[in-house]
Symmetry: C2
Subunit: 182 residues, 2 copies
């Protein structure tokens, strides 16, 4: 439960507050771009969700519109209340397991297929996870080459790499297992 009285998800708010806290004042348009460029791997949101949310956050006192630029551009700034809200979430929020896991459902139902079919599916999954692993490792390489350590996204990137790596190993192990015992 936060200072404002809601106990549910509201992670979009947190993502927006986080971007404003990390990179300073920005417009809805800027934030939409930042979602695409930086947070996309952990959270996605389009402008049609971001604009109304910023309006609600303004009403709730978490952000303010400090300046209006050309083309109706509104520069949002995080307020002390917003910073407090963000810090509370970061420090007190407890992670809970995702309850809608498409890959997990797929894995769950695999025994419905014939062994050779399941192997084919697992091989495709493995290839996909390997490709994604390369992609993520690519991000880490390019980032580390240019800047110093531990900027935003580094921890999330590391978590992603480890989890996708685990998925590769799972696929590999499952294929071997089916091949051995049919």
């Amino acid at each position: 439960m936060s200072i404002l009285g809601y106990s549910w998800v509201m992670s979009l708010r947190i993502a927006l507050l986080g971007l404003l806290a990390a990179a300073g004042p920005a417009s809805g348009y800027d934030l939409t771009k930042k979602f695409e460029l930086s947070v996309a791997h952990v959270w996605q949101a389009g402008h049609s969700q971001i604009y109304p949310e910023l309006a609600k956050m303004t009403v709730d006192g978490l952000v303010t519109v400090e300046a209006e630029g050309p083309r109706g551009r509104k520069l949002y700034t995080i307020t002390p209340e917003g910073t407090a809200e963000l810090r509370t979430w970061l420090i007190e929020h407890n992670v809970s397991p995702p309850v809608r896991n498409e890959a997990g459902l797929h894995a769950f139902l695999l025994p419905l297929l014939e062994p050779h079919e399941a192997i084919a599916v697992l091989q495709r999954m493995k290839a996909y996870y390997e490709a994604r692993l390369s992609e993520l490792e690519g991000f880490r390489a390019t980032k580390h080459a240019s800047e110093h350590r531990h900027r935003f996204g580094d921890y999330a990137l590391d978590l992603g790499i480890r989890q996708v790596g685990a998925a590769v190993e799972w696929a590999d192990h499952s294929i071997a297992d089916i091949e051995r015992s049919g």
Copy 2:
């Protein structure tokens, strides 16, 4: 794109078809129970979502009501079309990364905290993941003791264990990293 023309998620349908294919005819009530008992770790759905979905699936010809029991109980049976739909999804569906990852968002924003605060958060996360890991390994142990290998949920359980294990390692590594380089 499936035989029925929808290209979007529809994983609830797949979960329901999977349960009907695996365990035979069942009522909406039975399926609700099965969701709680078996699929809960990968997919969740309440009766208020299941009943209307079964009605739609009946209209679409994926299931039929073969018999009606006492108290208006409707026994749903999967049709050949339903089986085909399920097999198509299992064989052709491509996994895509989850786009709304609360743990990932939390990790992403960790650098906003002071090192000692981030360490405290990571330690709580680690404890949580360790507890969940024990829980999942407990499921595997009890299942393997009683029955033969590779029933429903085994692959999903293995995937879950590996991914939660990766999260534990991530938390551990991140803590050490902050302690070292602060």
